[in-house]
């Protein structure tokens, strides 16, 4: 019980502060490629105030089945992205994981994988989940590789569920079970 549940080797997960998140989201959402990697929504840049208010509304009425975090770099406390678990409240012990590293300069440096390891520990050791699920897009090979590295297994492929940049793409669903995660801990 000695080490902090939410601290990894490179990053820690911290609470979401609306003013700060709004500023960062306004900056990150100018990058359409980032938005297209994140989710199905139409990519649109968001203003600082708009994003702050949106974040405030979400935090004022916290949803009991959503655990959002900001990702903070250990070496200089910089906030580089955000992550969370959604749909945690169900009788099946399943939830949906998401992550985004908004700071482009931080891509490919292991921060995302480290944050994923931290949030899996939170899911299995604090929320006592049985499994964690995620969705990732065909054109996001970097993320898919990172998820495989931390132990997620591909569970299927929804054909042509995305329409972006002039063509259709598949969407993958991945999952990791509690016992797979435990085994992965010993291997690392």
């Amino acid at each position: 019980m000695s080490k902090s549940l939410l601290t990894g080797r490179l990053v820690r997960l911290v609470a979401v502060e609306p003013d700060q998140r709004g500023e960062l989201d306004a900056k990150w959402s100018r990058d359409s490629e980032y938005l297209q990697l994140l989710n199905f929504d139409v990519a649109v840049p968001r203003g600082t105030k708009q994003s702050q208010e949106w974040t405030r509304r979400r935090l004022e009425k916290p949803s009991p089945d959503h655990y959002p975090f900001m990702i903070q770099r250990l070496e200089d406390d910089q906030i580089i992205g955000e992550t969370g678990l959604a749909d945690t409240l169900n009788p099946h012990g399943d939830c949906w994981f998401y992550i985004g590293i908004g700071e482009r300069a931080m891509w490919g440096r292991g921060y995302g994988s480290d944050a994923t390891r931290v949030i899996l520990r939170f899911a299995f050791q604090e929320l006592n989940m049985h499994r964690v699920s995620l969705g990732v897009f065909e054109y996001n090979a970097r993320a898919k590789h990172s998820y495989e590295k931390v132990g997620f297994v591909e569970e299927g492929r929804q054909r042509a569920v995305l329409h972006r940049n002039g063509r259709r793409w598949d969407g993958f669903v991945m999952g990791i079970l509690r016992d797979e995660w435990e085994k992965h801990q010993h291997e690392e």
Binding site: N90, R131, G156, Q158, R159, V161, L162, G175
Partner: protein
Amino acid sequence: MNSELFEGKNIRFGAFDPERDAEAFSKWTHDTEYMRSIQFEPARPLSPFQIKKQLEEWQKEEHEKLFFFVIRTRTDDRAIGEARIYWVQWNHGTAMGQLGIGSPDDRDKGYDGEALDMLLQYVFEEMNLHHFAINTVENNTARQQLLECHGFQCEVRRRQAIFRDGRYWDGLIYGILVEEWSARRSGLHE
């Protein structure tokens, strides 16, 4: 051109009418097997009052992301089930759906197959979607057969995603593409 989207051979799709339908919907929520076949959330009985509230919420919150139909018999206009389309991603032309025949006496009469045909026609010819998906669970073999008979493929097997009756079951996501649906349909009509 068959533009009769809401009228099938034996059933029709109609709007939810609180005064007429809340009683029937409430009755179905007391049937846990039925509720388990249309949702992953815990089955819980809801009163007609709660049903009305829930439908009101759905109607105002997600009017462009949720399409909700009451399945009625054409002979006596009785509510026998529900069909819905949710999580509509207009920019990608994709959505999820669900359907069920609520009253036990109306099951095994082929109404679910007819409703699924109508749902498919609606998503592909009215909403102009490209891909349509329906969730089910490993132990619901009747539902898997129904989906496979209508041209769906099992695209995702989420291992041990549903815990029921003391054990884990895989969660299945079935999907069908518009070209698969139209090819099948022209094949059936030949």
